[in-house]
Symmetry: C2
Subunit: 244 residues, 2 copies
DNA sequence: TTTATGACGTAATTTGAAAGTTAGTCAATC
DNA sequence: GATTGACTAACTTTCAAATTACGTCATAAA
């Protein structure tokens, strides 16, 4: 079924202190992420995670139904971190909502996170079976958000007008993933420069040259943040992750 | 060591009819390609290939030193086919030497060849260990040809002037491979349309809007064909493949 | 009474040895 | 001189025993 919902037992519902519970969940996820990164999907056992978190194994199962779901949430949280970073950038700098800046920031947010990079590049060492069990509901949401965002850009006249918004979407994604894959064995010059090259490519390939007035930009940035926040909240709710 | 040179035994040198020899090599490669496509790298044995070609197993080893080299040449030949198709297009249509048309034609030449697609996407089912044993000499040649071609485009004023030629090269390659990867689970509409989207993306992202006079275009096309022919000949020589 | 645990049953994985294949060779054949 | 296929060593597959790890749940702790 592919949904990484939090396992809330009949008992857990009546937990006295939800805050402690959330803290423990976070600790478990932290340990799992660390072990996952250091040893890879196959070599990390639930016993390892429990020991690392200083709790009994049964306690882990009070939070998630299966090992796979636990690890699924680890990755879901990485995605949330990246999206949160993106949102912060959008709040800091209005121009971050322009597609090429969006691409640059998101690209760096991903490459800065080894687990996430492995996840998106479908590294079987880090991913295990998660590769083959995508979360359809989440994918749907993310696709929908991407469409909404691009339509927004189109409405603001910021996309080239000889390509439909959905075409830009597909082409943008292919380009983005191409750069992501190439980053590993990239040319000299750091990731920063590679992200910059991506940004310049995206700008020329998909954006119009129209200038946008400050007021409109502010509206657009706000709308983009709203869109992103909706997605973040939905993902958080689905995976039961409390904090960023 | 990664060079798929033809194995020419002391005996083979003195073969009476080199033409028959070449024909047999081609037949072996044809059979190998067919089996490779139908059964995958792991399931194809040299005995299968020999039987399919109607010869003894030892005869296969008169042509190539190892199984891996034989299969390496199968893929090398696929690349040659694609490059030859590209060259034909360049001869047919002068404008094919513009980067975006170049991309479109080459893209389709690749996606039309399942073995080649599998090769470039590093499909382990079709590739086996070949994935990890790249032919350094050939890679070098291809990289060099790519640089030469882009420098040529730059000299003719056909590349955007706010990106260095080598940057265009890296970005172009990342984009191209991104589209190639995405083609598998692409949106509705055939491969043709996907190639067209790639072409439009490449055009906007990397090309200048300068028009080029017919005479100059002819020169450029000729130079491009020359470049490509040099590469084709070098590859042919290295892998000992006789015909297209 | 609610929460946490780790021993336990079962299912999956690993191991290792034996059986089966196959790559590459070369003495025999054409 | 050119070709072959029986041959050997190396690799792969098989299969059962041994080990490991998941997920449960009776029990302990709070």
């Amino acid at each position: 079924m592919g949904s990484y919902g939090p396992y809330v037992s009949a008992n857990a519902e009546r937990l006295r202190d939800p805050r402690q519970r959330a803290e423990r969940a976070t600790r478990i996820l932290d340990v799992a992420a660390d072990l996952l990164l250091r040893h890879g999907y196959r070599r990390v056992t639930i016993d390892d995670v429990a020991e690392g978190a200083g709790i009994g194994k049964g306690t882990v199962y009070l939070h998630w139904k299966t090992r796979e779901q636990l690890f699924g949430v680890v990755f879901a949280r990485e995605v949330l971190y990246a999206m949160d970073e993106l949102r912060q950038a959008l709040r800091r700098d209005l121009e971050a909502c322009l597609l090429h800046n969006f691409a640059r920031v998101y690209f760096l947010a991903i490459t800065d996170r080894p687990l996430l990079r492995g996840f998106l590049l479908a590294d079987p060492h880090l991913l295990g079976k998660l590769t083959s069990s995508p979360d359809t509901a989440r994918d749907e949401r993310h696709g929908s958000m991407a469409r909404d965002y691009l339509n927004l850009l189109a409405e603001y006249g910021l996309l080239r007008d000889d390509m439909r918004a959905d075409e830009v979407g597909y082409a943008y994604q292919a380009t983005f993933e191409g750069f992501l894959r190439a980053e590993g064995d990239a040319p000299a010059g750091g990731t920063e420069q590679w992200a910059d090259l991506l940004a310049r490519t995206v700008r020329r390939a998909f954006e119009s040259e129209a200038a946008i007035p400050d007021a409109r930009l502010r509206d657009l940035a706000a709308a983009t943040v709203a869109l992103l926040s909706g997605l973040i909240d939905a993902d958080r709710a689905e995976s039961g992750i409390p904090e960023g």
